[in-house]
Point group: C3
């Protein structure tokens, strides 16, 4: 991983085999990022996605083992229980170009990933919401 500070945010180049969310968490901690929005592209592998089943209040999960293009990652950085959390949804595709997607639980980088953080100075916190079963942004 290598980070590049720019006048409008931080560009992160992740390397093959790095864990995407763990690497982002380490950058956030190291650079003391308080909050932000996240976007990016690249290639991923060993991807676990989720679909939220609101009635059951739990995620269905599916694993994608193969190398996939990361077409879009959109998310944000907030705080939960005193630690920064990256909440992100992704779309991915393989050699058939058909796109799959969901809530990102975990993934490793296949060849490279290029993630941009637009930081903000405010800490926004998530708190557990009984009604939806999710940790919602709550200020």
């Amino acid at each position: 991983m290598k980070t590049f500070s720019t006048s409008n945010g931080i560009l992160i180049r992740l390397n093959a085999n790095e864990d995407l969310l763990e690497t982002l968490a380490s950058v956030i901690k190291e650079q003391q990022i308080q909050g932000g929005v996240v976007s990016g592209l690249g290639t991923l592998k060993e991807i676990t996605l989720g679909y939220y089943q609101l009635e059951e209040k739990q995620y269905d999960r599916r694993h994608f083992a193969k190398d996939m293009e990361l077409l879009s990652l959109l998310g944000n950085i907030t705080w939960l229980d005193g630690a920064p959390l990256v909440h992100a949804h992704v779309t991915i595709s393989g050699k058939d170009y058909a796109v799959m997607g969901g809530h990102l639980f975990s993934a490793k980088v296949a060849a490279t990933a290029e993630i941009f953080i637009t930081p903000f100075s405010e800490r926004l916190n998530r708190t557990h919401d009984e009604k939806t079963g999710l940790n919602l942004i709550n200020g």
Copy 2:
């Protein structure tokens, strides 16, 4: 709906059953946002998407009733006939993780949605374009 002002834009948390585009319009009006770009993720339901048929100069429409993950929302805020307009395209997926997408006509929030507006101070207007049949950004 709850809005959070940050150093780089406005983060909006929408709640279950809120109309996505109507809620964004109310935030834009209330906060007197002149323009901007919009991105976000969440979960949606009762979604109407469009595919533009350029030859016929009209949209085909399809309705998705079920709860879907909102994987990406990308759009912008411009003005049409004196009122702010959110133009957005989305990708969504259900429990089979296959992604559908199109021009966003309308949707309600299923569990939550997290939308970020990067505002700008300029008003950009759309005007009707005969050739394409669309309202194009025209300064």
Copy 3:
């Protein structure tokens, strides 16, 4: 093509039949943009997408001739061999609303495209990486 300068970046409206990446390159050159992140939506045609085959260190390519909604374009502007380069991944869909996607090699605009550049003042360079076969961001 028409560009609109805003307080947070440059909004570009592309017109029918314009080449997407060539037009972006001309704006970058004309406005002397040093770097940035890119996002956008619109409609495309004559689209060539790629899927990177890491083992073979080469892209598979597929052409999509028909008009498609451009649901998401996410990318960045860096420098390779002394010239600015837009690296972008896209998701697209047709009248069946099923989403396809990949690395964007080339595309023309069908009706319109609305692309936003968040510029930064730093030049970031890509250099060829033997291990992956890709041009990676390297500072």
